[in-house]
Symmetry: C3
Amino acid sequence: MFPKNAWYVACTPDEITDKPLGRKICGESLVLYRGPDGQATALEDFCPHRGAPLSLGKVENGKLTCGYHGLEMGCDGKTVAMPGQRVRGFPAIRAYPAIERYGFIWVWPGDAALADEAKLHHLEWAENPAWAYGGGLFHIHCDYRLMVDNLMDLSHETYVHASSIGQKEIDETPTKTVVNGDEVITSRHMENISAPPFWRMALRGNGLADDVPVDRWQICRFTPPSHVMIEVGVAHAGKGGYDAAAEHKAASIVVDFITPETETSIWYFWGMARNFKPDDAELTATIRAGQHTIFSEDLQMLELQQRNLLAHPERKLLMLNIDSGGVQSRKVIDRLLAAEAPQQVAA
Amino acid sequence: MFPKNAWYVACTPDEITDKPLGRKICGESLVLYRGPDGQATALEDFCPHRGAPLSLGKVENGKLTCGYHGLEMGCDGKTVAMPGQRVRGFPAIRAYPAIERYGFIWVWPGDAALADEAKLHHLEWAENPAWAYGGGLFHIHCDYRLMVDNLMDLSHETYVHASSIGQKEIDETPTKTVVNGDEVITSRHMENISAPPFWRMALRGNGLADDVPVDRWQICRFTPPSHVMIEVGVAHAGKGGYDAAAEHKAASIVVDFITPETETSIWYFWGMARNFKPDDAELTATIRAGQHTIFSEDLQMLELQQRNLLAHPERKLLMLNIDSGGVQSRKVIDRLLAAEAPQQVAA
Amino acid sequence: MFPKNAWYVACTPDEITDKPLGRKICGESLVLYRGPDGQATALEDFCPHRGAPLSLGKVENGKLTCGYHGLEMGCDGKTVAMPGQRVRGFPAIRAYPAIERYGFIWVWPGDAALADEAKLHHLEWAENPAWAYGGGLFHIHCDYRLMVDNLMDLSHETYVHASSIGQKEIDETPTKTVVNGDEVITSRHMENISAPPFWRMALRGNGLADDVPVDRWQICRFTPPSHVMIEVGVAHAGKGGYDAAAEHKAASIVVDFITPETETSIWYFWGMARNFKPDDAELTATIRAGQHTIFSEDLQMLELQQRNLLAHPERKLLMLNIDSGGVQSRKVIDRLLAAEAPQQVAA
């Protein structure tokens, strides 16, 4: 169960440069490509002639041609032409609202009539040149909500990421969870601690001493349908922590777009945005490589957790204080699902 | 659903030279080997003693011995001997009619009482020394009828095989479909065109100029249960096309024996027979390698088309003029299935 | 269907030296590790907090800590501690009786109240320094009873292991099967025969001539739930066979602990114990390597036999004289299953 009337990240622009891309999103098999004006386009990956996947076709000058018998498909899901055929009566395939913004291609897998670009969150870091971004994509076999839980409870860093960003003070410092409408915010502030290896690297990357006590913060923001932006950082201790001036800290935003593929698998777009040394491409690469290693550590845990939960559907899991970010996020999701139900039935 | 009272290609002789071969044909698990007189033999791949697969056994002097406990199985499915046992009361396993002809081993997976060698099509190219043949085998995850459709509508060559045998004139030239009893014939004749790369190679192979205009033809013949023989060729333009004298053309027969394994998988025996330079083994190898490359291009398309169709069983596909060869072939198949139904129930 | 109130081999000690081990036994997902006193411990592989597999966690000083959020689990299945949490109300997970003995970790997957160490068979060869042991582990996709059948009917050696321990005299010599309560014994004695390659190697290993006639014996002992110990050996002919003095023979016990994983897969712990030259580590390695090669030959046969049986559940297999060891063993198993049924329902 996932909200379908929402914008999800479907892919990054580099995935549709030369060939169309076939990808399943929220249970829908899509073909993604750029239309004649370069616009991101998402259609059903199903040729109305013989059911061939359009994603095996070709795109030339923004025209998508089926790779089986040459049917030319329009960006609206209506067949434009086919050699030797009159195509007016061909059944249309479904066209999904799609937009390109913030360095991602977004699709709306639900009711197209409800799609509204204004509903896409503003992502300051993606447009402001003071910021740099690097990221990647994982395919993981778990319910998207297990990943939301994971990201809204960073106490797992102490155990899953012990050698990079974990430290015992995370466990020892309580969090505070606030719900603002559809947004859920869980925050933790640690003071006068030693920075773990990943953050020492970031301090050095920003030209700061890495061997002095720091204040560290983690502010996780869930927004529907399943995005989690996490403000993270360290400042030299006593300089104001989260509010310290830029010259005393290394701060960034962990970016997590979790796109359901099926009920038990996800496309996980992860990355990090930072507003220091934005032009230092080498630093971007170093941070990205470090994050890749760290985030890889979650995969096996999530997939085997999923397998355990499928084997024991009757068991109620504990909802501790540390879980409140995930619990509140699931409440928001449940509210959206309930609101969609009649439409889903109608569709 | 496949007709079972029919001859299907089960394997080629080289597959049963030293060891028995286990292969599923039309949903039946068979063991194939040569009996005492060298005769092709097909039995259930199931030892009546403990259910072991006989295909893991040994054949010596035409005697098939189970590799588990040494039961010796006769070509009629009756146990001949077993160390220390009286075997008279052992239940028989099923023996399938099998014949070797035309360079293939054929089996009849249906009612043995109806098996009739006379029902095997005559294949002139396989017996006449004026012809040479080369071919291969693919295992593909698709319904056998999707491959029949594929071969009865060669307009896909323009897209799937664009760099070898495809050319835009295929699309531009209408086909004609004729039904003769159980045979379906779809033909296309293109005049005064440029030969595509594969056919330029074939012209050179036959000692003919490859840079002059040609006439090209494609005559697809479906016969039950699921064989498609395609007469293809090019002649120097204006020499009579299909009817041109041998010294002006390069012509051959594309051979396609499509043997269902399950409802959604096939053993696809493909090849090419030609009646020029039949003794030129190097040319046979060159043609075979080219065909292997070309025919490989269909695999992914067919398998993903199959997956799309399984996901949308409710959708009706289009039946255009180019599809009429496949549509008529399926009608023949449906007629055979209807005729078999009572027997299938009885069995 | 497998008896659950029984001791099964779960793993060998070397499998739980540094990290906990996740393994499914009789349908139960277990985590195995050593507790604070070094004692073998088996728990459900399911953290009560979020369902994470505990086997991805860490063991330090005998304390098992969940690798996701640091929950510390006790050897009794009750949570001991978790950072920042009161754990008294946490639901317990299941703890399975476990003991370490004879070089193996044994678990009791059924009703813990019925577990009794006294029910573990005595294994003389595992404790007496006059014996040496070497073995290994295979994971095989077959019902555990197919492996019992395999081991209680060694006539398959002639065919499956033709080049090492098989010989035609096995087939030619009848067996005798005796049932003593829950124990089933099938024995075969062959006299004045030529030793096959494996046994010639063993004779040489024991400093005996390998080119003289021998007497050979095989005494298979099934005991519940699914253990098969096989006394095997050869003696120089005329020296008393099985009862010959030690200096005339090479004898050993083939050790087979067959632990069901699921209804159609097993953990197969195989090995060989011998009471000659127990300190010759090189000989142990040579025998172990030979047995590894030989026992590997059964895998494909058993897995394809299983597949055949699943495809034909309606077929009754033959029960010949050679099968009586397996037939009687299955009767013992059936009796145990019937006795357990009410408890299984209650659980």
